[in-house]
């Protein structure tokens, strides 16, 4: 176990092994995403109140869930980096941030698009969309903090601390926003939450969620691999890689 952990800390080992995983992961994620999308968009039954407009759920819900998962990934990687000084965890933390922020942004846009036919407004202060907005702010804060440091070692530590603080706060924020929304609940159609969805609608959604998680992992690995090459560019193994595989 410990030797595996130690190996995982070696960028060179990671680069080799992730290169083997990557094609598989890519195929699986694209297949799942395509399957989920086709099933959800073409074959799942329409919602009895929202008609076909609800189908954006097959993008909105996976993106907001994976955006959340991305934050947890970033914070856990940050914790591993702070505690064990593992270089690879630092790379993972740094690479997860922009991907997660992009997914959060996508969740906001799709939420807004969904809002128009459902509530007749592009933006409604619904509990979930507000939470996603705060999550977006948390991501932006971490990225802005990283960019402000000239010393990237200190930047990474600062971001690890901040993302951990954010992780502790996320449940509090989500719960507060939920409570706040229940207090001010406007008289509009309530969001169809997944739990009340019919199973014929739910199954393609689950596939889309798993597919997007795999896609997140794929993009994260690609980003990490290029970041590692950039960082280790002066080492022997990267030079060998660049001048021709050995």
């Amino acid at each position: 176990m410990w030797s595996f952990f130690h190996k995982l800390g070696s960028p060179r080992w990671f680069y080799r092994i992730s290169g083997q995983w990557l094609p598989w992961l890519m195929v699986i994620s694209l297949a799942l995403l395509a399957w989920g999308a086709i099933w959800g968009l073409l074959f799942a039954p329409p919602d009895f109140r929202q008609g076909n407009s609800y189908r954006i759920v097959y993008i909105h819900v996976p993106t907001s869930m994976v955006a959340m998962g991305g934050y947890v990934t970033m914070a856990v990687a940050g914790a591993i980096f702070l505690i064990w000084r593992m270089k690879l965890a630092e790379v993972a933390m740094r690479c997860a941030a922009p991907i997660g922020a992009a997914l959060t942004f996508l969740a906001l846009v799709t939420g807004s698009l969904w809002g128009k036919p459902t509530w007749g407004a592009w933006w409604v202060w619904d509990a979930r969309i507000t939470s996603v907005l705060v999550l977006f702010f948390l991501y932006v804060g971490v990225i802005a903090l990283y960019e402000s440091f000239e010393n990237k070692q200190a930047a990474a530590k600062a971001c690890a601390v901040l993302s951990l603080v954010g992780l502790v706060n996320i449940p509090i924020i989500y719960w507060s926003v939920e409570w706040w929304y229940s207090l001010h609940q406007p008289a509009t159609i309530k969001f169809t939450s997944e739990s009340t969805m019919h199973s014929s609608m739910l199954r393609p959604l689950l596939i889309s969620i798993i597919g997007l998680y795999c896609f997140f992992a794929t993009v994260l690995l690609i980003h990490m691999r290029s970041e590692i090459l950039q960082r280790e560019r002066t080492t022997k193994w990267v030079r060998e890689l660049a001048t021709g595989e050995k």
């Binding site: 070696s10 060179r12 270089k87 010393n151 070692q153 080492t235 022997k236 193994w237």
Partner: protein
């Protein structure tokens, strides 16, 4: 030779993954004064900051009293004076020193007058520090040395802004501290005229070669 206090084995500081100077190994024993030398920018201040625990960016091994250095135990035995004096200018020397004593976990109210007399600031105890000159402020910072019993003094350019008479005094204090069983590690561009075993350690710039611990 007497008991070794601080030992460095192949220590170098790093900046952005590059070593700053050729690794140094040295032993600082009780009763000695050691001066770090080297051109500007070679990393003298960086090394002092590593030694006292402000910076973690180094390679090599640090030992204290023959054991691997334990920061918590070490903190009670070292005083560091850096470029910044650490004084609040709106407070008086007495208030500043009392706060510093609290930081060390002690109420040193009784020692403050003696310490300020020692550094020649008797009569200025209750004047706000912004009314003191740069040299006098530096002396207030130096007065900390006399409110504590820590054996190791790490001083970064302690002579800055100090007049000629003060330099001679400070040299005497270093000597007295060493004779009492303490040790001093300092950087300065001032030629020291100590009649003691002054050890001088030179730092040489590294050859700009990057290393990676997992290459």
């Amino acid at each position: 030779m007497s008991q070794p206090l601080l030992e460095l084995r192949d220590v170098t500081c790093e900046r952005d993954g590059y070593p700053l100077f050729e690794p140094v190994s040295l032993t600082l024993s009780a009763g000695s004064v050691m001066q770090l030398e080297g051109p500007n920018g070679v990393g003298k201040t960086s090394l002092l900051r590593v030694l006292c625990g402000l910076s973690s960016r180094y390679q090599g091994e640090l030992r204290w009293r023959g054991q691997p250095l334990d920061r918590a135990a070490f903190a009670t035995e070292v005083i560091f004076l850096g470029h910044a004096t650490g004084l609040k200018l709106t407070l008086s020397p007495r208030e500043n020193l009392r706060w510093w004593g609290v930081l060390r976990g002690f109420d040193c109210t009784a020692e403050i007058d003696g310490a300020l007399r020692q550094v020649g600031l008797l009569g200025y105890e209750d004047v706000p520090c912004y009314q003191l000159s740069a040299g006098q402020q530096r002396r207030v910072a130096l007065a900390r040395l006399f409110t504590s019993t820590a054996p190791l003094w790490i001083l970064d350019e302690p002579f800055t802004a100090i007049d000629r008479e003060g330099v001679a005094q400070l040299e005497e204090w270093l000597l007295a501290h060493a004779e009492a069983g303490g040790a001093v590690l300092l950087t300065t561009h001032q030629p020291l005229t100590l009649p003691v075993p002054l050890q001088q350690v030179g730092l040489r710039p590294a050859q700009g070669e990057e290393y990676s611990d997992n290459a």
